[in-house]
């Protein structure tokens, strides 16, 4: 990476909590990372690690009324979105920040035609006539390589296959040529062959539009294929952050290593035993203040009861320096 490329997004010490019966639970605990212009940053982790909550905090689309951002800043092109008014946010979402949600069927309205839903984005953000919006929407469907876009404009979401629906959702997110795209598990519900199509499409559109992307996924393969930088989350915190090639060739945190070793690979011999990470992720209510991966491994020495420092141990390579999880 060249020296200090301009950052389009800077998440700084973000804290997001949920109001529950058990009290205020912190799902995102002092998370910081930044996204350089035009680059793709992947956030990876297992379910419940806070990756989606982090993403939704950026655009303030948390479940209401329980979700609350309790601290930190999210600077998007210099503006702090945490303190932005709802009206300002509405202008930014969809126009400057596009969002792709995991489940395309849930992101589309089943009772409106595709054409109406895609042209609505243009109507809202660009204040153009119905006819112009319709034409722009048709063009957008063509841009995401949907065959026969004029015909598809008249379809309802249930007429389309999963892959085609996800293309429509991408068309919605990219309609106004945003400078930042947030993609929350964009290919998780899809088959591998369709996933390959969608990832390829995203890569090409990203290059054409020069936008930056935050890609949230649990699939390390997807990360390896698409990301420049990787943020590994565990228990609501960032445990490691580095360039993609560093993460895959020189993982430093025990969790990242464990994650990489647990995936069956095409070149491992059949029926060999895979590496496993014992235990399961603790629930939000049971999070310790100390190192959360040590909590999973059942380590309870005094050093693991302190929150480990997040430090840059090599240029551009940050890791939570728990004495048990790092450096052994």
């Amino acid at each position: 990476m060249s020296e200090t490329p301009k950052k389009i997004l800077e998440v700084d010490q973000l804290i997001t909590s949920f109001e529950t019966e058990k009290g205020l639970l912190r799902a995102v605990d002092h998370v910081s990372f930044s996204v350089p212009e035009g680059k793709t940053v992947g956030i990876v982790g297992e379910s419940g690690c806070g990756k989606s909550v982090t993403a939704m905090s950026i655009v303030r689309l948390l479940p209401q009324p329980s979700g609350k951002i309790l601290g930190g800043h999210v600077y998007f092109q210099g503006h702090d979105l945490v303190r932005a008014s709802d009206a300002e946010l509405r202008k930014i979402r969809g126009a400057q920040i596009g969002v792709i949600f995991q489940e395309p069927m849930a992101a589309l309205n089943p009772v409106h035609r595709i054409g109406k839903q895609v042209s609505e984005v243009f109507r809202v953000h660009q204040k153009i006539s119905k006819r112009d919006a319709w034409d722009a929407a048709t063009e957008m469907l063509a841009a995401v390589r949907i065959p026969a876009p004029e015909k598809r404009m008249m379809d309802y979401p249930h007429h389309l296959s999963g892959g085609m629906r996800q293309r429509v959702v991408i068309a919605l997110a990219l309609a106004c040529k945003p400078s930042l795209l947030i993609a929350d598990e964009p290919t998780t519900a899809l088959d591998v062959t369709v996933q390959a199509q969608i990832l390829d499409l995203l890569k090409r559109l990203q290059a054409e539009m020069g936008m930056a992307t935050v890609l949230i996924t649990h699939d390390l393969g997807v990360i390896a294929e698409t990301c420049d930088e990787v943020v590994v989350m565990y228990g609501g915190r960032v445990v490691e952050k580095a360039s993609a090639s560093e993460i895959f060739t020189n993982p430093l945190h025990a969790y990242t290593r464990g994650l990489l070793q647990s995936i069956p690979r095409m070149d491992t011999p059949s029926k060999s035993l895979l590496h496993t990470i014992p235990g399961t992720v603790a629930s939000l209510a049971d999070y310790t203040h100390g190192c959360r991966f040590c909590q999973r491994m059942g380590r309870t020495s005094p050093v693991t009861r302190e929150r480990p420092k997040f430090a840059e141990v090599m240029p551009g390579h940050w890791v939570e320096t728990c004495p048990e999880c790092y450096g052994k």
Binding site: A196, G221, L273
Partner: protein, 336 residues
């Protein structure tokens, strides 16, 4: 395949068609050919992997094999018994030998039953053991699948996804089956939990001499657990070989495309990617000739209409659909 050993289970020309009804009188207007002429054999002690995209009929095939669905035609033979048309009553004793593990343990476990009653139920249905014996067996099973004994009196929803899948596995193991059909057993799980469950399945196979039909869409998972792999496309098997062959030397164009689509976790390794256009065609009105040749608009597609595209042996333990659209010219010569 050579008849060294008698297959544990085999099926011949198995078809499962679902009627499509339309019009005022709801007459049958067509059929979804979910499984369309599949012949396979499963040898004792082996794992046969079955991969394909969603909608290719792999789950339907698994269910038809264990008679959770009635096949439209063809036959299923389990240890010399033709079970295709056995009544449910006659089938029951055989159910002890064939069990199933489902994708979503949250849906396949009754939330109103305690874990003990879930695992005990198979014994009660088959009238096995006294109450105390059954309890001892349940505890043994819990221990074997790595759950604490205290789990017995709790309910399935109190557990995480991985632990629930362990409950499902314990239930499937209860009757000491010979064959377990695993339908996407790890697709709903996180990677670190997925590896725990895969290891458990491999260990159980080693200890009990189990035989698995392992259905999944994730090629690297299937490759990892299977001895042989069958690749399914639109209701038909298009390639069948041992798992090393499938990975190192795929012969069918669809297998090659599937393999190339699997994201690699090595960012330094950039492979040639075969991008497929479009989706799997509808099984309601499948193309007349080669289904995959149709999807990739192969110039020789027209030749394949009416052609016999069934599996042919190309080398030792490697079978591929004799389809000029999908195999190399050299292989096509060999198959003739």
């Amino acid at each position: 395949m050579e008849n060294r050993t008698l297959p544990l289970l085999s099926c011949k020309d198995l078809c499962v068609h679902f009627p499509v009804r339309g019009g005022v009188l709801l007459r049958q207007t067509g059929a979804v050919r979910a499984v369309d002429g599949v012949s396979l054999e499963i040898q004792p002690g082996e794992t046969l992997g079955l991969v394909g995209e969603s909608g290719c009929g792999k789950s339907t095939f698994g269910k038809a094999l264990v008679r959770l669905l009635q096949p439209t035609s063809g036959e299923v033979i389990f240890q010399n018994t033709n079970i295709t048309h056995l009544s449910q009553a006659r089938l029951r004793p055989l159910r002890r030998d064939i069990q199933m593990i489902f994708q979503d343990p949250a849906e396949s476990l009754d939330p109103r039953m305690s874990v003990r009653s879930i695992i005990e139920e198979p014994y009660i249905i088959h009238g096995l053991g006294s109450r105390t014996e059954r309890l001892a067996w349940v505890n043994e099973l819990l221990d074997r699948v790595g759950l604490p004994l205290s789990a017995a009196e709790r309910y399935s929803f109190e557990f995480s996804g991985g632990q629930r899948q362990r409950i499902g596995i314990a239930r499937a193991l209860a009757l000491k089956p010979k064959l377990i059909v695993c339908d996407e057993p790890v697709s709903a799980l996180d990677v670190s939990v997925q590896s725990q469950i895969l290891n458990l399945l491999v260990e159980l196979q080693r200890d009990f001499g189990l035989c698995y039909l392992f259905i999944a869409h994730d090629l690297s998972v299937v490759k990892h657990v299977s001895d042989r792999v069958a690749v399914m496309y639109l209701g038909k098997i298009v390639e069948l070989a041992n798992s090393e062959q499938i990975y190192h030397n795929p012969r069918h164009a669809y297998t090659k495309a599937l393999l190339s689509a699997v994201p690699s976790t090595n960012p330094l390794e950039r492979r040639e990617r075969i991008l497929l256009e479009g989706d799997v065609p509808s099984p309601i009105d499948p193309p007349a000739g080669s289904a995959f040749g149709h999807r990739i608009s192969h110039p020789r597609y027209n030749e394949t209409i009416g052609m016999d595209l069934s599996l042919k042996q190309i080398s030792n333990d490697h079978w591929v659909a004799a389809d000029p659209c999908c195999v190399s010219e050299e292989d096509w010569e060999k198959l003739q």
